[in-house]
Subunit: 248 residues, 2 copies
Amino acid sequence: MHTNVGSYPFHIASYMCDFQGRAPLPLLGSLILHAASRHAHERGFGYDHISRDKIAWVLSRLAIEWTDYPGRDEALTIETWVGEVARFYTQRCFRFVNAEGRAIGHARSVWAALDMCSRRPVNISEWRPDLAAYACGEIECPVARPARIPAAEAGDVSREYTVGYSDIDINGHLNSVKYIEHTLDVFDLAVFRENVIRRFEITYLAEGHFGEALALRRQPVSENEYIVETLRGEESLCRSRISWERVR
Amino acid sequence: MHTNVGSYPFHIASYMCDFQGRAPLPLLGSLILHAASRHAHERGFGYDHISRDKIAWVLSRLAIEWTDYPGRDEALTIETWVGEVARFYTQRCFRFVNAEGRAIGHARSVWAALDMCSRRPVNISEWRPDLAAYACGEIECPVARPARIPAAEAGDVSREYTVGYSDIDINGHLNSVKYIEHTLDVFDLAVFRENVIRRFEITYLAEGHFGEALALRRQPVSENEYIVETLRGEESLCRSRISWERVR
């Protein structure tokens, strides 16, 4: 019998760290996917179970907020629970706890259940009414809901890439974490040296495929905030909003 | 008290898999680094210990051979041991064991100990004579030693990229696994659909840095074998030799 909150221990090895010896945001994004995947699997609505119905969970929005970035050789526990089950999406929350038991980050994510044949979202309350029993809306998750992110209209194209084998996930689409990697790569190393990301928010709008040429457009919206958009021609595949805080 | 062979369990989640639901080679490369890092850490010669001496382990060569690629939701154990301690390098071996206890892959790697100030290799037998006690040359590792890989002279430039934040590791250099990702990305998805990689070999020749523009040159050397070279101008940063086997 599993409780509604799943808890997954993790160890941050040095080879996973960035040039400052910190766990990079894409790794934390992977841990979020990892915890979500394990939590759902253990409770009977993981990839394995729902792919029998030709349905896949698709990450639609994600917001991550950090106070302390975990570092090399640190232990970390990721807790996750379903915050809400609505008709066409579920919300899933995350809490990152360090070795001393202190919460050092939280995340909030929105998932759609996608029919792999029609490519349309599935009505979750009709398809799997049992999921409602997992919702624990009462647990606090101090992260504002991921909101609509505007296009990076006035931005400069600061990076381009062609989607390769390593970018493609099990559903045949550009991997959610790879979008985050490419998004962060529009910033200079000096930005990471002098600042930390306090909030990172991403909205996935369309699926990227193998061989497509993508461009990243970056627009500053205030002194410490940027919008980064991933574009296929003029079509937006995803948009991120990054809030930096100066540390030195 | 740790034995000379380290054993590390791992679970392959669906979000880690490639478009065919298999663990991709860069993930297996990460597991190799993970096992090497844990094994060395537990025995007192990990990143933490040797960075006090301003020394870092640098992966110089790696050869991986697979019979079966592990898939989604499979359990996997990675065993590792030091095969040989020579004056200027150590050899480390790996065995991948599936849930039934069967070996499905092996790897052999060569590491140098690099002085972080002088950037010169350290004489390991003088610096850490205690490491010799960990060598278990008698355990079988059925992978030929990584050999010299020639330049991809007649190859076409098939991919280019600029080293970004996500490519840089804790030592400030292009991450060993990222080289493997970029190397595989010179192949079309159809190649992965119709073939599996039976042997992958890589030699790291020079360190890549943030912001550098790199190019990948690909040369077929026989029907099922390619050399892929990562270049900074005309300087070779790394060379790989990839042996494919047709599966359909």
